[in-house]
Protein backbone atom coordinates (compact mmCIF):
# COMPACT_ATOMS: atom_id res chain seq x y z
CA UNK A 1 0.00 0.00 0.00
CA UNK A 2 1.14 3.53 -0.73
CA UNK A 3 0.62 4.93 2.73
CA UNK A 4 0.42 2.90 5.89
CA UNK A 5 -0.46 4.66 9.10
CA UNK A 6 -0.77 3.28 12.58
CA UNK A 7 -0.40 5.83 15.32
CA UNK A 8 -1.26 6.36 18.93
CA UNK A 9 -0.92 9.68 20.63
CA UNK A 10 -2.26 10.88 23.94
CA UNK A 11 -4.21 14.11 23.55
CA UNK A 12 -5.66 16.25 26.33
CA UNK A 13 -9.22 14.94 25.90
CA UNK A 14 -8.79 11.53 24.34
CA UNK A 15 -6.28 9.24 22.73
CA UNK A 16 -5.65 9.40 19.02
CA UNK A 17 -5.54 5.78 17.91
CA UNK A 18 -5.76 5.38 14.17
CA UNK A 19 -4.72 2.68 11.73
CA UNK A 20 -5.36 2.60 8.00
CA UNK A 21 -3.66 2.07 4.71
CA UNK A 22 -4.29 4.43 1.82
CA UNK A 23 -3.82 3.76 -1.86
CA UNK A 24 -3.24 6.28 -4.64
CA UNK A 25 -6.92 7.22 -4.60
CA UNK A 26 -7.90 10.40 -2.79
CA UNK A 27 -9.08 9.70 0.74
CA UNK A 28 -11.51 11.91 2.60
CA UNK A 29 -11.21 12.04 6.37
CA UNK A 30 -14.54 13.06 7.80
CA UNK A 31 -15.33 13.83 11.40
CA UNK A 32 -16.68 16.47 13.73
CA UNK A 33 -14.33 19.23 14.83
CA UNK A 34 -12.07 18.04 17.60
CA UNK A 35 -12.05 14.43 16.39
CA UNK A 36 -8.29 14.50 15.91
CA UNK A 37 -8.28 14.83 12.12
CA UNK A 38 -5.80 17.69 11.97
CA UNK A 39 -3.56 16.01 14.55
CA UNK A 40 -3.54 12.90 12.36
CA UNK A 41 -2.35 14.93 9.36
CA UNK A 42 0.27 16.68 11.47
CA UNK A 43 1.61 13.33 12.66
CA UNK A 44 1.89 12.12 9.07
CA UNK A 45 3.59 15.36 7.99
CA UNK A 46 6.08 15.08 10.84
CA UNK A 47 4.98 18.19 12.69
CA UNK A 48 3.92 16.15 15.70
CA UNK A 49 5.47 13.06 17.16
CA UNK A 50 3.11 10.17 17.90
CA UNK A 51 3.65 8.20 21.10
CA UNK A 52 3.62 4.83 19.37
CA UNK A 53 3.11 3.26 15.95
CA UNK A 54 4.50 3.70 12.48
CA UNK A 55 4.04 5.71 9.29
CA UNK A 56 5.28 4.20 6.04
CA UNK A 57 4.99 6.16 2.80
CA UNK A 58 5.79 4.37 -0.45
CA UNK A 59 8.22 1.96 1.23
CA UNK A 60 9.91 4.76 3.13
CA UNK A 61 9.66 4.50 6.91
CA UNK A 62 8.88 7.99 8.17
CA UNK A 63 8.15 7.01 11.73
CA UNK A 64 8.52 3.81 13.68
CA UNK A 65 8.47 3.89 17.44
CA UNK A 66 9.93 0.39 17.75
CA UNK A 67 12.86 0.99 15.43
CA UNK A 68 13.22 4.50 16.86
CA UNK A 69 12.87 6.15 13.48
CA UNK A 70 11.58 9.69 13.20
CA UNK A 71 12.22 11.44 9.91
CA UNK A 72 11.83 15.21 10.44
CA UNK A 73 9.23 17.11 8.45
CA UNK A 74 11.78 18.75 6.17
CA UNK A 75 12.92 15.40 4.80
CA UNK A 76 9.48 13.76 4.43
CA UNK A 77 8.53 15.47 1.17
CA UNK A 78 4.89 15.62 2.08
CA UNK A 79 2.95 18.53 0.65
CA UNK A 80 0.63 20.06 3.18
CA UNK A 81 -2.05 22.66 2.61
CA UNK A 82 -2.88 24.27 5.93
CA UNK A 83 -6.33 25.27 6.99
CA UNK A 84 -5.50 28.99 6.91
CA UNK A 85 -3.05 28.36 4.01
CA UNK A 86 -0.02 29.64 6.01
CA UNK A 87 1.31 31.65 3.07
CA UNK A 88 4.46 33.64 3.85
CA UNK A 89 3.16 37.22 4.06
CA UNK A 90 6.49 38.79 3.11
CA UNK A 91 6.87 36.74 -0.05
CA UNK A 92 5.10 37.12 -3.37
CA UNK A 93 3.01 34.36 -4.94
CA UNK A 94 6.02 33.35 -7.05
CA UNK A 95 8.35 33.35 -4.06
CA UNK A 96 5.87 31.39 -1.97
CA UNK A 97 5.53 28.71 -4.63
CA UNK A 98 9.28 28.56 -5.19
CA UNK A 99 10.16 28.37 -1.49
CA UNK A 100 10.52 24.60 -1.44
CA UNK A 101 12.69 24.59 -4.58
CA UNK A 102 15.64 26.67 -3.39
CA UNK A 103 18.02 23.77 -3.90
CA UNK A 104 17.36 23.74 -7.65
CA UNK A 105 19.36 25.82 -10.14
CA UNK A 106 17.76 29.20 -10.80
CA UNK A 107 16.46 28.45 -14.32
CA UNK A 108 14.97 25.11 -13.40
CA UNK A 109 13.29 26.59 -10.38
CA UNK A 110 11.83 29.45 -12.42
CA UNK A 111 10.53 26.99 -15.02
CA UNK A 112 8.88 24.76 -12.42
CA UNK A 113 7.27 27.72 -10.66
CA UNK A 114 6.04 29.14 -13.97
CA UNK A 115 4.45 25.81 -14.88
CA UNK A 116 2.66 25.63 -11.54
CA UNK A 117 1.49 29.23 -11.80
CA UNK A 118 0.09 28.42 -15.22
CA UNK A 119 -1.60 25.30 -13.95
CA UNK A 120 -3.25 27.02 -11.00
CA UNK A 121 -4.24 30.10 -13.04
CA UNK A 122 -2.23 32.53 -10.96
CA UNK A 123 -0.39 34.23 -13.79
CA UNK A 124 -1.75 37.75 -13.28
CA UNK A 125 -1.12 37.49 -9.56
CA UNK A 126 2.42 36.17 -9.65
CA UNK A 127 3.97 39.29 -8.13
CA UNK A 128 1.30 39.99 -5.55
CA UNK A 129 1.68 39.49 -1.84
CA UNK A 130 -0.71 37.08 -0.09
CA UNK A 131 -2.59 39.89 1.64
CA UNK A 132 -3.69 41.18 -1.75
CA UNK A 133 -5.20 37.84 -2.77
CA UNK A 134 -8.74 36.58 -2.34
CA UNK A 135 -9.39 33.43 -0.32
CA UNK A 136 -9.60 31.28 -3.43
CA UNK A 137 -6.38 32.71 -4.83
CA UNK A 138 -4.60 32.12 -1.53
CA UNK A 139 -5.85 28.57 -1.54
CA UNK A 140 -4.52 28.01 -5.07
CA UNK A 141 -1.17 29.49 -4.09
CA UNK A 142 -0.96 27.19 -1.08
CA UNK A 143 -1.83 24.21 -3.27
CA UNK A 144 0.77 25.17 -5.89
CA UNK A 145 3.38 25.65 -3.17
CA UNK A 146 2.68 22.19 -1.77
CA UNK A 147 2.77 20.61 -5.23
CA UNK A 148 6.03 22.37 -6.10
CA UNK A 149 8.14 19.99 -4.04
CA UNK A 150 6.75 17.07 -6.07
CA UNK A 151 5.40 15.58 -2.85
CA UNK A 152 5.18 11.87 -2.14
CA UNK A 153 1.81 12.53 -0.53
CA UNK A 154 -0.56 15.45 -0.36
CA UNK A 155 -2.33 16.42 2.85
CA UNK A 156 -5.10 18.99 2.81
CA UNK A 157 -6.50 20.31 6.07
CA UNK A 158 -10.02 21.68 5.57
CA UNK A 159 -9.02 23.22 2.24
CA UNK A 160 -12.42 24.71 1.54
CA UNK A 161 -13.72 25.66 4.96
CA UNK A 162 -12.43 29.23 4.85
CA UNK A 163 -14.01 30.00 1.47
CA UNK A 164 -17.30 31.61 0.56
CA UNK A 165 -19.91 29.24 -0.82
CA UNK A 166 -19.65 30.53 -4.37
CA UNK A 167 -15.90 30.04 -4.39
CA UNK A 168 -16.06 26.54 -3.02
CA UNK A 169 -17.32 24.78 -6.11
CA UNK A 170 -14.66 26.56 -8.15
CA UNK A 171 -11.83 25.54 -5.84
CA UNK A 172 -13.33 22.10 -5.50
CA UNK A 173 -13.18 21.64 -9.25
CA UNK A 174 -9.53 22.66 -9.15
CA UNK A 175 -8.83 20.13 -6.42
CA UNK A 176 -10.59 17.41 -8.38
CA UNK A 177 -8.42 18.25 -11.37
CA UNK A 178 -5.28 18.00 -9.25
CA UNK A 179 -6.41 14.72 -7.71
CA UNK A 180 -7.14 13.22 -11.13
CA UNK A 181 -3.52 13.63 -12.24
CA UNK A 182 -1.86 13.13 -8.87
CA UNK A 183 -1.19 9.42 -8.66
CA UNK A 184 -0.03 9.36 -5.06
CA UNK A 185 -1.79 9.29 -1.69
CA UNK A 186 -3.91 12.37 -1.14
CA UNK A 187 -5.63 12.89 2.19
CA UNK A 188 -8.29 15.50 2.65
CA UNK A 189 -9.63 16.42 6.04
CA UNK A 190 -13.08 17.95 6.23
CA UNK A 191 -16.13 18.18 8.43
CA UNK A 192 -18.37 18.77 5.44
CA UNK A 193 -20.17 15.59 4.44
CA UNK A 194 -20.76 16.56 0.81
CA UNK A 195 -17.20 17.74 0.32
CA UNK A 196 -15.91 14.48 1.76
CA UNK A 197 -18.10 12.52 -0.61
CA UNK A 198 -17.35 14.50 -3.76
CA UNK A 199 -13.58 14.75 -3.35
CA UNK A 200 -12.62 11.38 -1.92
CA UNK A 201 -12.89 7.94 -3.42
CA UNK A 202 -12.52 6.28 -0.10
CA UNK A 203 -13.79 7.61 3.16
CA UNK A 204 -12.42 7.45 6.68
CA UNK A 205 -14.80 8.56 9.39
CA UNK A 206 -13.18 9.67 12.62
CA UNK A 207 -14.69 10.21 16.01
CA UNK A 208 -12.84 11.10 19.19
CA UNK A 209 -9.50 9.95 17.88
CA UNK A 210 -10.57 6.59 16.48
CA UNK A 211 -11.53 5.28 13.07
CA UNK A 212 -15.30 4.82 13.16
CA UNK A 213 -15.51 3.59 9.56
CA UNK A 214 -13.15 3.14 6.64
CA UNK A 215 -13.93 1.97 3.12
CA UNK A 216 -15.39 2.92 -0.24
CA UNK A 217 -17.54 6.00 0.25
CA UNK A 218 -20.67 4.56 -1.44
CA UNK A 219 -20.70 1.63 0.94
CA UNK A 220 -20.29 3.73 4.06
CA UNK A 221 -23.06 6.07 3.02
CA UNK A 222 -25.40 3.24 2.02
CA UNK A 223 -24.76 0.95 4.96
CA UNK A 224 -23.13 2.82 7.85
CA UNK A 225 -21.55 0.24 10.18
CA UNK A 226 -22.78 2.01 13.31
CA UNK A 227 -25.33 4.52 14.41
CA UNK A 228 -22.50 6.96 15.09
CA UNK A 229 -21.15 6.72 11.56
CA UNK A 230 -24.69 7.07 10.25
CA UNK A 231 -25.08 10.28 12.16
CA UNK A 232 -21.64 11.55 11.15
CA UNK A 233 -22.53 10.94 7.52
CA UNK A 234 -25.72 12.93 7.92
CA UNK A 235 -28.36 10.31 8.65
CA UNK A 236 -31.11 11.70 10.85
CA UNK A 237 -33.38 8.75 11.62
CA UNK A 238 -32.53 5.91 13.94
CA UNK A 239 -34.59 3.56 16.04
CA UNK A 240 -33.52 0.79 18.35
CA UNK A 241 -34.25 -2.46 16.58
CA UNK A 242 -34.85 -6.14 17.19
CA UNK A 243 -34.94 -8.90 14.61
CA UNK A 244 -38.02 -11.16 14.67
CA UNK A 245 -37.89 -14.89 13.97
CA UNK A 246 -39.49 -14.34 10.53
CA UNK A 247 -36.71 -11.96 9.51
CA UNK A 248 -38.73 -8.79 9.90
CA UNK A 249 -37.36 -6.02 12.08
CA UNK A 250 -39.14 -4.49 15.01
CA UNK A 251 -38.36 -0.77 15.24
CA UNK A 252 -38.75 -0.23 18.97
CA UNK A 253 -38.65 3.59 19.04
CA UNK A 254 -40.88 3.99 16.02
CA UNK A 255 -43.28 1.28 17.17
CA UNK A 256 -43.55 -0.49 13.84
CA UNK A 257 -42.57 -3.66 12.06
CA UNK A 258 -40.34 -3.31 9.02
CA UNK A 259 -39.11 -5.43 6.18
CA UNK A 260 -35.45 -4.70 5.55
CA UNK A 261 -33.46 -5.94 2.54
CA UNK A 262 -30.12 -5.89 4.27
CA UNK A 263 -29.19 -9.18 5.87
CA UNK A 264 -27.26 -9.02 9.11
CA UNK A 265 -25.65 -12.04 10.68
CA UNK A 266 -26.22 -10.84 14.23
CA UNK A 267 -28.91 -8.98 16.10
CA UNK A 268 -29.15 -5.37 14.91
CA UNK A 269 -28.86 -2.61 17.46
CA UNK A 270 -30.43 0.07 15.33
CA UNK A 271 -32.36 0.53 12.14
CA UNK A 272 -31.92 3.75 10.22
CA UNK A 273 -33.09 5.60 7.14
CA UNK A 274 -31.91 8.82 5.55
CA UNK A 275 -34.29 11.76 5.55
CA UNK A 276 -34.51 12.03 1.77
CA UNK A 277 -35.25 8.32 1.39
CA UNK A 278 -38.62 8.60 3.09
CA UNK A 279 -41.32 8.50 0.49
CA UNK A 280 -44.89 9.72 0.67
CA UNK A 281 -47.72 7.65 -0.79
CA UNK A 282 -51.21 8.59 -1.68
CA UNK A 283 -53.64 6.99 0.75
CA UNK A 284 -55.45 3.84 -0.28
CA UNK A 285 -52.98 2.71 -2.95
CA UNK A 286 -52.40 -0.79 -1.74
CA UNK A 287 -50.83 -3.93 -3.06
CA UNK A 288 -47.21 -4.81 -2.39
CA UNK A 289 -46.31 -1.18 -2.25
CA UNK A 290 -48.23 -0.94 0.99
CA UNK A 291 -45.38 -2.75 2.68
CA UNK A 292 -43.50 -0.57 5.15
CA UNK A 293 -46.09 2.16 4.73
CA UNK A 294 -47.18 3.90 7.93
CA UNK A 295 -49.57 6.67 8.71
CA UNK A 296 -47.83 9.77 10.00
CA UNK A 297 -48.64 13.17 11.38
CA UNK A 298 -46.75 16.42 10.83
CA UNK A 299 -45.24 17.96 13.98
CA UNK A 300 -43.53 20.85 12.26
CA UNK A 301 -41.86 21.76 9.01
CA UNK A 302 -38.80 23.84 8.24
CA UNK A 303 -37.66 25.30 4.98
CA UNK A 304 -34.38 25.20 3.11
CA UNK A 305 -34.05 26.91 -0.29
CA UNK A 306 -35.10 23.90 -2.32
CA UNK A 307 -36.32 21.35 0.14
CA UNK A 308 -38.70 21.07 3.00
CA UNK A 309 -37.73 19.26 6.16
CA UNK A 310 -40.71 17.53 7.77
CA UNK A 311 -40.74 16.31 11.36
CA UNK A 312 -43.18 13.45 11.64
CA UNK A 313 -44.84 11.32 14.27
CA UNK A 314 -46.02 7.82 13.64
CA UNK A 315 -48.81 8.16 16.20
CA UNK A 316 -51.55 10.77 16.35
CA UNK A 317 -49.97 13.85 17.90
CA UNK A 318 -50.33 14.51 21.61
CA UNK A 319 -49.36 17.51 23.66
CA UNK A 320 -45.61 17.27 23.15
CA UNK A 321 -43.61 18.11 20.04
CA UNK A 322 -41.55 14.93 19.97
CA UNK A 323 -41.12 13.40 16.54
CA UNK A 324 -40.11 10.00 15.21
CA UNK A 325 -38.87 10.72 11.73
CA UNK A 326 -37.25 13.55 9.87
CA UNK A 327 -38.05 13.54 6.15
CA UNK A 328 -36.78 15.75 3.40
CA UNK A 329 -38.72 16.35 0.21
CA UNK A 330 -38.29 18.68 -2.72
CA UNK A 331 -40.60 21.66 -2.54
CA UNK A 332 -42.33 20.65 -5.78
CA UNK A 333 -43.39 17.41 -4.19
CA UNK A 334 -44.21 19.05 -0.87
CA UNK A 335 -46.60 21.43 -2.61
CA UNK A 336 -48.55 18.40 -3.91
CA UNK A 337 -49.50 17.07 -0.52
CA UNK A 338 -49.05 19.79 2.06
CA UNK A 339 -52.75 20.68 1.98
CA UNK A 340 -53.92 17.07 2.30
CA UNK A 341 -55.04 16.51 5.89
CA UNK A 342 -52.96 14.19 8.08
CA UNK A 343 -52.36 11.32 8.44
CA UNK A 344 -50.13 11.07 5.44
CA UNK A 345 -48.57 7.79 4.45
CA UNK A 346 -44.82 7.49 4.71
CA UNK A 347 -43.00 4.63 3.08
CA UNK A 348 -39.70 3.38 4.45
CA UNK A 349 -38.57 1.30 1.52
CA UNK A 350 -36.80 -1.98 2.40
CA UNK A 351 -33.76 -1.17 0.26
CA UNK A 352 -33.23 2.23 1.89
CA UNK A 353 -33.42 0.94 5.45
CA UNK A 354 -30.17 -0.19 6.98
CA UNK A 355 -29.25 -2.06 10.11
CA UNK A 356 -26.31 -1.41 12.34
CA UNK A 357 -24.80 -4.02 14.61
CA UNK A 358 -23.70 -1.51 17.25
Amino acid sequence: MALEVQIEKKLPDFELNVAFTASEEPLSILGPSGAGKTMLLRCIAGLERPDRGHVVLRDRILFDSEQNILIPALRRRIGMVFQNYALFPHRTVTENIGFGLHALPREERAARVAALIERTHLKELANRYPRALSGGEQQRTALARALAIDPEALLLDEPLSALDTHLRSQVEAQLQEVFSTYQRPALLVTHNIEEAYRLGERLLVMSRGRVAAYGPKEEIFRRPPSREVGQLTGCKNFSRARMNADGSVEALDWGCKLRVDQALSKQPAHVGIRAHHIDFMEAGKGGNAAENVFPCWLVRASETPFRETLYLRLQPPGEDTAYDLQAEVFKEKWRCFRDVPCPWHARLSPESLFLTPE
Binding site: L47, A86, H102, R145, A146, I149
Partner: protein
Protein backbone atom coordinates in the same frame (compact mmCIF):
# COMPACT_ATOMS: atom_id res chain seq x y z
CA UNK B 1 39.73 70.00 22.37
CA UNK B 2 39.99 66.27 22.89
CA UNK B 3 37.25 64.46 20.97
CA UNK B 4 38.22 61.00 22.19
CA UNK B 5 35.16 60.51 24.50
CA UNK B 6 32.91 60.80 21.42
CA UNK B 7 34.77 58.15 19.49
CA UNK B 8 35.06 55.89 22.53
CA UNK B 9 31.35 56.22 23.28
CA UNK B 10 30.37 55.50 19.67
CA UNK B 11 32.78 52.60 19.24
CA UNK B 12 31.65 51.10 22.54
CA UNK B 13 27.94 51.46 21.79
CA UNK B 14 28.16 50.12 18.24
CA UNK B 15 30.25 47.12 19.28
CA UNK B 16 28.07 46.41 22.31
CA UNK B 17 24.88 46.69 20.23
CA UNK B 18 26.25 44.34 17.60
CA UNK B 19 27.15 41.73 20.24
CA UNK B 20 23.84 42.22 22.03
CA UNK B 21 21.92 41.82 18.78
CA UNK B 22 23.48 38.45 18.04
CA UNK B 23 23.54 37.11 21.60
CA UNK B 24 20.11 38.52 22.50
CA UNK B 25 18.54 37.06 19.36
CA UNK B 26 20.19 33.71 19.96
CA UNK B 27 18.98 33.69 23.55
CA UNK B 28 15.46 34.63 22.44
CA UNK B 29 15.38 31.86 19.80
CA UNK B 30 16.79 29.32 22.24
CA UNK B 31 14.30 30.32 24.92
CA UNK B 32 11.38 30.19 22.46
CA UNK B 33 12.13 26.56 21.70
CA UNK B 34 12.47 25.42 25.27
CA UNK B 35 9.95 25.67 28.03
CA UNK B 36 9.84 24.56 31.59
CA UNK B 37 9.41 25.95 35.05
CA UNK B 38 13.16 26.18 35.71
CA UNK B 39 13.57 28.41 32.68
CA UNK B 40 11.65 31.12 34.48
CA UNK B 41 14.81 31.47 36.56
CA UNK B 42 16.84 31.85 33.38
CA UNK B 43 14.45 34.59 32.26
CA UNK B 44 14.95 36.29 35.58
CA UNK B 45 18.74 36.15 35.27
CA UNK B 46 18.58 37.49 31.70
CA UNK B 47 16.49 40.44 32.83
CA UNK B 48 18.40 41.14 36.04
CA UNK B 49 20.81 43.75 34.56
CA UNK B 50 17.77 45.83 33.67
CA UNK B 51 16.56 45.97 37.26
CA UNK B 52 19.76 46.05 39.30
CA UNK B 53 21.54 49.38 39.85
CA UNK B 54 24.38 49.64 37.30
CA UNK B 55 26.85 49.84 40.20
CA UNK B 56 25.76 46.37 41.30
CA UNK B 57 26.14 45.04 37.77
CA UNK B 58 29.55 46.71 37.56
CA UNK B 59 30.61 45.22 40.87
CA UNK B 60 29.60 41.71 39.76
CA UNK B 61 31.50 42.19 36.52
CA UNK B 62 34.49 43.32 38.49
CA UNK B 63 34.30 40.16 40.59
CA UNK B 64 34.01 38.03 37.45
CA UNK B 65 36.65 39.72 35.32
CA UNK B 66 38.99 40.95 38.05
CA UNK B 67 42.43 39.54 38.61
CA UNK B 68 41.02 36.91 41.00
CA UNK B 69 37.69 36.35 39.28
CA UNK B 70 37.05 33.12 37.30
CA UNK B 71 36.87 34.83 33.93
CA UNK B 72 39.74 37.15 34.78
CA UNK B 73 41.92 34.16 35.66
CA UNK B 74 40.94 32.46 32.43
CA UNK B 75 41.85 35.52 30.39
CA UNK B 76 45.10 35.84 32.28
CA UNK B 77 46.03 32.41 30.92
CA UNK B 78 45.98 33.99 27.48
CA UNK B 79 47.92 36.96 28.75
CA UNK B 80 44.98 39.35 28.65
CA UNK B 81 43.48 41.63 31.24
CA UNK B 82 40.14 43.20 30.61
CA UNK B 83 39.53 45.36 33.62
CA UNK B 84 40.28 49.07 33.08
CA UNK B 85 40.69 48.66 29.33
CA UNK B 86 38.47 49.57 26.39
CA UNK B 87 36.92 46.05 26.10
CA UNK B 88 35.64 46.54 29.64
CA UNK B 89 33.45 49.42 28.44
CA UNK B 90 32.03 47.09 25.78
CA UNK B 91 31.37 44.35 28.34
CA UNK B 92 29.57 46.75 30.63
CA UNK B 93 27.48 48.24 27.81
CA UNK B 94 26.67 44.79 26.42
CA UNK B 95 25.51 43.40 29.74
CA UNK B 96 23.24 46.32 30.56
CA UNK B 97 21.73 46.49 27.05
CA UNK B 98 21.22 42.73 26.68
CA UNK B 99 17.88 42.52 28.58
CA UNK B 100 16.28 45.10 26.30
CA UNK B 101 17.31 43.18 23.20
CA UNK B 102 16.28 39.85 24.67
CA UNK B 103 12.86 40.94 25.85
CA UNK B 104 11.90 42.73 22.61
CA UNK B 105 13.29 40.05 20.30
CA UNK B 106 11.45 37.36 22.19
CA UNK B 107 8.18 39.21 22.04
CA UNK B 108 8.67 39.80 18.32
CA UNK B 109 9.49 36.14 17.61
CA UNK B 110 6.50 34.97 19.60
CA UNK B 111 4.28 37.07 17.37
CA UNK B 112 5.29 35.07 14.29
CA UNK B 113 2.57 32.56 13.51
CA UNK B 114 3.85 29.03 14.23
CA UNK B 115 1.94 27.70 11.21
CA UNK B 116 4.25 29.65 8.89
CA UNK B 117 7.33 28.01 10.40
CA UNK B 118 5.71 24.59 10.12
CA UNK B 119 4.73 25.22 6.52
CA UNK B 120 8.35 26.11 5.78
CA UNK B 121 9.49 22.86 7.42
CA UNK B 122 7.13 20.74 5.32
CA UNK B 123 8.64 22.48 2.28
CA UNK B 124 12.05 21.11 3.19
CA UNK B 125 13.54 24.14 4.96
CA UNK B 126 16.22 23.57 7.61
CA UNK B 127 15.81 25.22 11.00
CA UNK B 128 18.40 27.82 10.03
CA UNK B 129 16.53 28.65 6.84
CA UNK B 130 13.22 28.75 8.70
CA UNK B 131 14.76 31.30 11.06
CA UNK B 132 16.57 33.38 8.47
CA UNK B 133 13.90 33.48 5.80
CA UNK B 134 10.65 33.31 7.74
CA UNK B 135 10.95 34.03 11.47
CA UNK B 136 13.54 36.82 11.34
CA UNK B 137 12.02 38.86 8.49
CA UNK B 138 8.59 38.69 10.11
CA UNK B 139 9.97 39.60 13.53
CA UNK B 140 12.26 42.26 12.08
CA UNK B 141 10.37 45.39 13.17
CA UNK B 142 10.47 44.16 16.76
CA UNK B 143 14.11 43.13 16.53
CA UNK B 144 14.96 46.54 15.13
CA UNK B 145 13.15 48.23 18.00
CA UNK B 146 15.19 46.10 20.40
CA UNK B 147 18.37 47.17 18.63
CA UNK B 148 17.50 50.85 18.98
CA UNK B 149 16.70 50.45 22.65
CA UNK B 150 19.93 48.55 23.23
CA UNK B 151 21.98 51.16 21.45
CA UNK B 152 20.37 53.94 23.46
CA UNK B 153 21.04 52.07 26.68
CA UNK B 154 24.66 51.36 25.71
CA UNK B 155 25.27 55.00 24.83
CA UNK B 156 23.95 56.15 28.20
CA UNK B 157 25.80 53.56 30.25
CA UNK B 158 27.71 55.03 33.19
CA UNK B 159 27.69 53.16 36.48
CA UNK B 160 28.86 49.70 35.45
CA UNK B 161 31.41 51.20 33.06
CA UNK B 162 32.93 53.29 35.80
CA UNK B 163 33.19 50.26 38.08
CA UNK B 164 34.88 47.94 35.61
CA UNK B 165 36.58 50.28 33.14
CA UNK B 166 37.37 53.27 35.28
CA UNK B 167 38.18 56.65 33.81
CA UNK B 168 41.26 56.49 31.64
CA UNK B 169 41.20 59.43 29.23
CA UNK B 170 41.68 58.32 25.65
CA UNK B 171 40.91 54.70 26.49
CA UNK B 172 37.87 54.19 28.67
CA UNK B 173 36.56 57.70 29.10
CA UNK B 174 33.12 57.73 27.47
CA UNK B 175 30.97 60.86 27.28
CA UNK B 176 28.92 60.15 30.43
CA UNK B 177 32.09 59.54 32.39
CA UNK B 178 33.71 62.65 30.95
CA UNK B 179 30.68 64.64 32.12
CA UNK B 180 30.82 63.17 35.61
CA UNK B 181 34.48 63.95 36.08
CA UNK B 182 34.10 67.42 34.59
CA UNK B 183 31.45 68.21 37.20
CA UNK B 184 33.61 66.60 39.84
CA UNK B 185 36.47 68.90 38.83
CA UNK B 186 34.11 71.88 38.89
CA UNK B 187 34.65 72.38 35.15
CA UNK B 188 31.02 73.32 34.41
CA UNK B 189 31.89 74.70 31.00
CA UNK B 190 33.32 71.36 29.93
CA UNK B 191 30.45 69.41 31.46
CA UNK B 192 27.89 71.50 29.62
CA UNK B 193 29.82 71.07 26.41
CA UNK B 194 29.80 67.27 26.70
CA UNK B 195 26.13 67.28 27.68
CA UNK B 196 25.32 69.21 24.53
CA UNK B 197 27.37 66.82 22.42
CA UNK B 198 25.62 63.83 24.03
CA UNK B 199 22.17 65.30 23.38
CA UNK B 200 23.03 66.05 19.76
CA UNK B 201 24.46 62.59 19.11
CA UNK B 202 21.58 60.76 20.80
CA UNK B 203 18.95 62.87 19.11
CA UNK B 204 20.53 62.51 15.67
CA UNK B 205 21.00 58.78 15.99
CA UNK B 206 17.62 58.01 17.48
CA UNK B 207 15.60 60.18 15.13
CA UNK B 208 17.63 58.88 12.20
CA UNK B 209 17.08 55.28 13.20
CA UNK B 210 13.44 55.92 13.96
CA UNK B 211 12.90 57.58 10.62
CA UNK B 212 14.67 54.74 8.88
CA UNK B 213 12.60 52.02 10.56
CA UNK B 214 9.39 53.92 9.97
CA UNK B 215 10.08 54.24 6.27
CA UNK B 216 11.06 50.58 6.27
CA UNK B 217 7.85 49.75 8.07
CA UNK B 218 5.78 51.77 5.66
CA UNK B 219 7.56 50.23 2.70
CA UNK B 220 6.81 46.80 4.04
CA UNK B 221 3.17 47.61 4.68
CA UNK B 222 2.81 49.05 1.20
CA UNK B 223 4.44 46.02 -0.37
CA UNK B 224 2.25 43.67 1.60
CA UNK B 225 -0.87 45.56 0.53
CA UNK B 226 0.26 44.89 -3.04
Amino acid sequence: MDWSPVWISLATSVTATAITLVVGLAAAVWRERHSGPTLALVDGIFLLPLVLPPTVVGFFLLLLFGRHGPLGQLLLHFGATVVFSWPATVIAATVVSFPLMYITARAALEQVEPGLLQAARTLGASEWRVFREIALPLAWPGVLAGTILSFARALGEFGATLMIAGNIPGRTETIPIAIYFAVEADDIQRALYWCAVDVVISLALLSGLYYWTRTQGFGRARRLAG
